[in-house]
Amino acid sequence: MSSPTPQYGPMFDTDELVINMGPQHPSTHGVLRVVLRLDGEKVVDADVVIGYLHRGVEKLSESRSWAQIVLLTDRLDYVSAATSNVGYCETVEKLMAIEVPRRAKYLRVILSELQRIASHLLWLGTHAMDTGAMTVFLYAFRERELILDLFEEYCGARLTYNSMRIGGLPQDLPPSWDRKVLEFCRIMEGKLEEYETLLTGNRIWLERTKGVGVIDGAEALALGLSGPPLRGSGVRRDVRKDEPYAAYDEMEFDVPLGVAGDTFDRYVVRMQEFRQSIRIIRQAMQGIPEGPILGKVPRLIKPPAGEVYHAIESPKGELGFFIVSDGKSMSPYRFRVRPPSFCNLQALPRLVKGHLIADVVALIGSLDVVLGEVDR
């Protein structure tokens, strides 16, 4: 910054304070770095710097076999590995025109929705923690633990599941797992009340979130937002409804929408998505058909030449995979991810402008970004 015009005579210099938020900062959720220009506590400008967690997943995928890439997608959004798995596997299935058995589709829905609850719980906990309500954080993690236990029982892993295969799933449900899932749904409904008691009606929480980071629907679309941040602005866009994948076309659920497009509406949208996810899990559990869990997949996965784009609704938003196959080699010719976190993060400089430092923290939480997915 060149020196601004002195407002109070030559004695006082009113320089802006340039301050580095992150990559080591308790509230930037990993390794996000935001360079803030402050006027007092007010944010004049923000510059988001990413790339601290870049592992080259996209390039790496071009030298791995098609089946191995499932494992890499675990590491994109590492708090929501199952949905990334679903996204990738369905993309390859689309390219190879593989028919997935209905039971596998249902299981994918169940796992995705459990994963959505787990991811939203992590968001809720950290978002509340960033605004100072630390008890909610512990409560949210307590319930997330139950989901991780369910996943552990299903596939043996608690974070990076590798839980999907091209053409279906690696294994069927363990015995009495379905009962445990329903039991979890019952517990979760009660706990949601508990979170809402601590936050939704809390005056301080309302003051901290209402009117903070307002963005209208048109601008949200223009910035490429997706998922809860977009729906919080009142735009009705949910890949599960608009372009149903897996067995979502057979599920009945609502798409919660916000009105004002502020932090509070994004909060409310996600809180309602918890309930919708529970609703979907219950339906899927009830209607789950018998049958195989893996479709007819050639032993050697080698898609024909061509390109394909397929998107799913991950907890963060629209997660898309664009894959080009040359039909000759054993790995993709080009592998590209459209990560919702990355696109949502674009809105941060726009959202924080004119707000205070405390709001920056609240807004990062409200966008719910995962840096593994942003940097890939």
């Binding site: 506590e41 605004t131 100072g132 309500a133 409560y139 301080i204 003051e207 709001d359």
Partner: protein, 340 residues
């Protein structure tokens, strides 16, 4: 000689040690209570149920490397923690923990001294403590602490006004600034001032939260925003001093609130005859019990509420609490004159 030097000296030693012990166990209490609120266990490893955790913490902090940043203002950097710790301890000089007791054939009063401007002394000494925070932020030569110390100074100044105004309305009731005098006047009027000054009591409690930088007003050290606030650059024993000062201040606010609003060492309903069996419990026990209720409230609030934003905090202070305190003061004065 004994009356003049030895007994006060012994009292000072006892009070200082008790305070420091109380402060360290306050930290443990907070960790335990918050843990229970969050369905955890809290410290469990050091000693049974973690009762020796404060000892372990103290050891760790003393043995830790004490780093001074290369470009810090070294003198001020060292002075700041002392400046925030000393006032927090000095205040205890005028706090009456109890009435008189018989010990070794002597009448001993359970306070170090009773000066006729006790309350004024409390207000002025505690407000020195904020310099520690301001200087810490300034001398660290780091941006986050600087922001924190700006927040701290603005916050403490605005909330001190509200608090002091509530104190004035208490003084109007008691007619004395002496801390002992305020308790005895509650005894003679037969009512705790919390009941006739509820507004002042609530404002004092909210202001007390803000004065001690506690949640939901813990903006100067909001670790999620300012990465630890004014003590970001501090480590080892110097950090420990800030930490202890914060908790010592919480105990000060609790003790002052107990003295002014909850009748100090008096038993509940001091003038109701048929409750006189409550008198078997010594006065200092009542005092500790009442202070403990406050300490618990402090922790409870922290476990429950999110944090205010800077502008909202200032708005609450200047637009709500201060006008309310002024109105309360004027009303008290009018009623007092009308009754007289």
């Amino acid at each position: 000689m004994v009356e003049l030097v030895l007994i006060p000296l012994l009292k000072i030693i006892v009070v200082l040690n008790a305070t420091l012990l109380g402060v360290t166990y306050m930290v443990l209490l907070e960790r335990k209570v918050i843990a229970w609120a969050q369905s955890r266990l809290g410290p469990m490893r050091v000693g049974p149920y973690g009762v020796l955790q404060p000892v372990a913490d103290a050891m760790k902090l003393m043995l830790k490397e004490d780093i001074t940043p290369a470009r810090a203002d070294k003198w001020v950097f060292t002075l700041a923690p002392i400046l925030s710790m000393v006032p927090a301890l000095v205040v205890y000089a005028v706090i009456p923990f109890g009435d008189q007791v018989h010990l070794f054939g002597r009448q001993i009063s359970l306070y170090i001294t009773d000066i006729n401007v006790g309350l004024l002394y409390v207000v002025s000494v505690t407000s020195v403590g904020v310099y520690g925070i301001i200087l810490a932020g300034y001398s660290s030569n780091s941006k986050w602490p600087l922001l924190a110390s700006l927040r701290a100074s603005a916050q403490l100044i605005s909330y001190e006004i509200a608090i002091t105004l509530t104190l004035v309305s208490v003084v109007l009731m008691s007619g004395t600034l002496s801390m002992v005098g305020i308790v005895t006047s509650q005894a003679s009027q037969g009512v705790w001032y919390a009941f006739i000054q509820p507004t002042a009591f609530i404002i004092f409690f909210i202001g007390g939260l803000a004065e001690t930088n506690r949640a939901p007003f813990d903006l100067p050290e909001a670790e999620q925003e300012l990465t630890g606030g004014f003590h970001t650059e501090y480590s080892g024993m110097r950090f420990a001093l800030f930490f202890l000062a914060e908790y010592a201040n919480i105990i000060v606010v609790s003790s002052v609130a107990t003295t002014l609003f909850l009748g100090g060492w008096l038993r509940p309903f001091p003038n109701v005859e048929f409750l006189s069996f409550l008198g078997v419990v010594p006065g200092w026990c009542w005092f500790l019990l009442k202070s403990f209720v406050f300490l618990y409230l402090f922790i409870w609030v922290r476990a429950t509420l999110p944090r205010y934003r800077y502008d909202q905090l200032m708005r609450l202070g200047w637009k709500v609490l201060i006008p309310l305190a002024i109105a309360n003061l004027i009303l008290t004065a009018i009623v007092k004159v009308a009754l007289a």
